[in-house]
């Protein structure tokens, strides 16, 4: 029961790991992605991704700007121009 999460910037692949859930601040509202999410694409407002490593754990926040999220069979891929 794990979601494969990748965070990619133009310079490098920042993260590639299995997590429980990621909450993404989409331009049209926040959405959480769990394993088995339907294929989905959205632009992301500048803000923080919340990464939950395990169920109920405190989220880790990653600030990104210029983001784009893609959910597919391979999991969640976030393309961001700047991280940090």
């Amino acid at each position: 029961m794990a979601l494969h999460f990748e965070l990619v910037t133009p310079a490098k692949l920042v993260r590639s790991e299995d997590v429980h859930m990621v909450v993404v601040p989409g331009t049209e509202g926040e959405f959480g992605v769990l394993e088995g999410h339907a294929p989905f694409m959205s632009t992301i407002a500048d803000g923080a991704l919340k990464v939950y490593r395990t169920e109920g754990a405190a989220p880790e926040e990653i600030r990104i700007t210029g983001g784009f999220a893609e959910v597919g069979d391979k999991g969640l891929t976030v393309l961001a121009e700047h991280v940090g």
């Binding site: 133009p10 310079a11 490098k12 331009t27 694409m41 959205s42 632009t43 893609e70 393309l79 121009e81």
Partner: protein, 293 residues
């Protein structure tokens, strides 16, 4: 014939030149490795973005309502040539090859009655292009204070280009840079960047994508992604250019080192010959003197 002392001086000076070129060659080799690694790590983002653009493009038909960056301004009178060069020399024909490609394209466009403008990145392309097209340099982007071209530079260039484009300063933009094939081979490349050439639609994933949801609508996502796509392409070009520069520099310096070696060998032979000639003359003089007694 040069005197022995002069020859010795020349040999020493060529030797110190050879030391410099050898050092520069090793520096270039190290930097090349770094530049290649940077280009390597930029690949996942570019590949993913191209994939997304492809699947979006397959769903959208280009019409008048499409974003200007994709559909174009409706005319192609004014062409902007973005020429990416390096800031430093000592890299063989690297810069002049790019400039040459840009110049050929400029002449070709002018022959068709189009207006040509230049946007120069890097220092080394300025002099030759300014000499030939003094009135057509739209802007010069300075990278002299940056050590390695990064995404920030690509972003600034792309933003300036988009601003110029939206002001109606040009209709079509071409990017000139050097594609990195290997340390021995760099290919000057001409690539249209504005309007963004429609990304190739990915047919294979059409079945899986059929159920993909979009938020906001496809058109809006595409409009948001176009400038990013442009930035990514510029970033990729800057990285390729950096790798090419180091590759060209390595090759050029390798040649220079070898040439210096040849020259030293030749001068040494000449030096030894003159020395022997001097000794022989001295001996002949002594023997002649002894015989005269």
């Amino acid at each position: 014939m040069a005197s022995l002392k002069e020859l010795k001086g020349r040999i020493n000076s060529v030797k110190s030149t050879q030391k410099i070129t050898k050092a520069k060659q090793m520096v270039a080799a190290a930097k090349l490795r770094k530049a290649q690694a940077a280009a390597e790590s930029a690949r996942p983002y570019a590949a993913r973005l191209a994939e997304v653009m492809g699947s979006l493009a397959s769903k959208i038909t280009v019409s008048e309502n499409s974003p200007k960056l994709l559909a174009g301004t409706g005319s192609d009178k004014v062409h902007l040539l973005v020429v990416a060069n390096s800031d430093k020399g000592l890299c063989g024909a690297f810069n002049s090859n790019i400039v040459k490609a840009a110049r050929v394209k400029a002449k070709e466009l002018e022959a068709q009655g189009k207006t040509v403008l230049f946007y120069l990145v890097g220092r080394k392309g300025r002099a030759p292009l300014r000499r030939e097209f003094p009135k057509q340099i739209a802007h010069m982007f300075d990278t002299t204070d940056v050590r390695d071209p990064g995404f920030d530079e690509a972003e600034r260039i792309a933003n300036e280009l988009v601003a110029l484009y939206e002001d109606g300063k040009f209709d079509v933009a071409h990017l000139f840079y050097s594609k990195f094939r290997s340390a021995l081979l760099q290919e000057p490349t001409d690539q249209q960047i504005i309007p963004v050439p429609a990304p190739k639609a990915v047919a294979a994933t059409a079945g899986a994508d059929a159920v993909t949801e979009y938020e906001p609508e496809e058109e809006e996502i595409l409009a948001a992604l176009l400038p990013r796509y442009l930035r990514t392409q510029l970033f990729g070009a800057l990285l390729e250019n950096a790798a090419s520069e180091q590759g060209a520099s390595m090759t050029a310096m390798d040649n220079a080192t070898r040439n210096a070696g040849d020259l030293i060998k030749k001068l040494t032979i000449q030096y030894n010959r003159s020395r022997q000639a001097a000794i022989t003359t001295e001996l002949v003089e002594i023997i002649a003197g002894a015989e005269a007694l």
